[in-house]
Amino acid sequence: MGDSVKTERKGDIKTDGLMEAYFEKPKRLTTWSGFPVKDIYTPADLEGIDYKRDLANAGEYPYTRGIHSNMYRGRYWTIREGSGYARAADTNKRLKFLASQGVGGFSIFRDLPTVWGIDADHPMAEGEVGVSGVNLTSLKDMEELLDGISLDRVSVALLCASCLAPVVFSQYITVAEKRGIDIAKLRGTIANDPLHSRYCYGKPSNPIDLSIKLAVDIIEFCTKNMPLWNTNSVNAYDMRETGLNAPEEIAFGFGIAMEYINKAMERGLDVDDFASRISFYFSAGIDFFEEIAKLRAARRLWAKIMKEKFNAKKPNSWKFRFGVHTAGSSLVQNQPLNNIIRISIEALVAVLGGVQSLHCCSYDEPIALPSEESQRIAVRTQQILAYETGVSNTVDPLGGSYFVESLTNTIEERAIEFIDEIDKMGGMAEAMRREWIDEKIDEAAFQLQKEIDDKERLVVGVNTLSTKEEDESPGGIHSIPPETEQKQIANVKRLKETRDADKVKLAIMNLKEKAKMGEKETLIPYIMEALKTYATIGEIQGTIREVYGLSYDPFNMLKSPY
């Protein structure tokens, strides 16, 4: 072995690492979800695929290649950027800033007290008011939030999915109505997926039966009154973020959507009257090809489910329309600027996967609330994709790729197996009652962490190449204005003292009566009436909860004053 002759000289740098890096090769030859990947894919991997039956041109069933015939040549995806922090007036300023940066729509995040349906002055809200979103205790907050924004000329996604969705949705349309805008002309989305919220925002405030009842109330109300509004954005994203894999994301998201559809049909709605307004909220993770395949597989599978299982007749009912949020769980606190790269790749995944609306994470999200600067980069990421890369010039550019088509099939097959398993249990609500979903989530998270600990999966800045010396966050951190909570609590207390208490009581009593009618009555109009008297989210939610045999307060600390 000639090269073992000692040639190293005093003062030479250590070269072992260099040679190791030179010969380094991938260790993990599976997809993120664990599907084995072959060294090469060939025409043999396309065997059995029938172009017309399984792929078809975009705009044609089963929509594997896209839901519109010309996709982004007709219109780019909606460049949406979310915001929500502190008090309504603060978020209002940020929305106006984002509008000045060329976004095509807003997403509004609410804080945790709002998503739980407790007022800012609730004892459990301490430290949380306006922190991870805007606080919307009463209609006053929504009025301030939307000040100066023309509601008939903007598309707004209200990201409140929990049992409080009907209240936040009603706040929005009540503001529009008060301004004299015809609500039939409003364009936007209410997240409206309380079933998923059990896993992300707390079980006490999202009991299964009440969740389904309220979700269907919104579907019914919009079907009759708001044809342009997206009634649900079924949230597979949050489930995925817990560590579930790509086929589970599809299966659990679809399982939840099917619960709502079944219940809406039981109420007597025609599936073709509402299915086209149900959309999805999916993740775009870091495994480039698998994630693109996932979005294509989801599109094909949803079309089949709607056509074959629910017997929908209109093509619009078959279309899987979805928004993407790049995977927050893929972001790393160490060397946070690296996240810009991760987010760009994930945004590209979404576009190549045929997304309708895209929200890019901000690179500083693992650290704090996004700053203006980091949000601008998130918007620019999409604009660079749209204007500079050329990826949107043709439809489904990866269609026909041996690898991508093979992976699309694999993911669809696995997702179908999960859906069958859920069906056998009696549907998603039943799988939730049995805590089968909880087990899956825990299992996935443990497995993922184990693979990271064992360095089977490498994550830059986590288990390799991390820098130890950082003691502050590059780019700084964005904090909410001090006194936010105190000011908001003072406002809420003042509101409760100054509003017309008799009117509030009357509206709350009426809401209670209507809630007793169960599936026979959608509660939206009565929630709106209560909001107009400045009844708060806690009072409205509490009143409905009591009718359903639950404690007025999800934390059982407060008693109903009514």
Partner: protein
Amino acid sequence: MKKKKRILLAKPGLDAHDMGMKLIARALKDAGAEVVYGGIYVTPDEITKIALEEDVDVLGLSFHSSTHLVVVPKIMKLLKEKGGDDLMVVVGGCIPLEDVLELKNMGVTDVFPSGSSLDDIVDLIIQ
């Protein structure tokens, strides 16, 4: 034989991101510690009460929604009042690096922001 370490893990407030805490609970059990799992949505009063009743050596608090600077001092004060000031308090989760020193000044022994290694956490707590 050395007494097994007892650790209470809890997550105060409204946030539900409990996966990190579950993973740590499992790692600590694997390392031979006794874990009292306090769960999510617990108040500072409840946490203090459980910590003292269960006679734990270490209190591990998890945060995700930026409430650590409000909640930690509250818990430290309660512990002091109720005679639990010998407890070792460790904080983890979504914590900006800028806040680490402030938390340590409040009496927190160590802080593990997201991305910390399970081994480091277990080592500190078990020692």
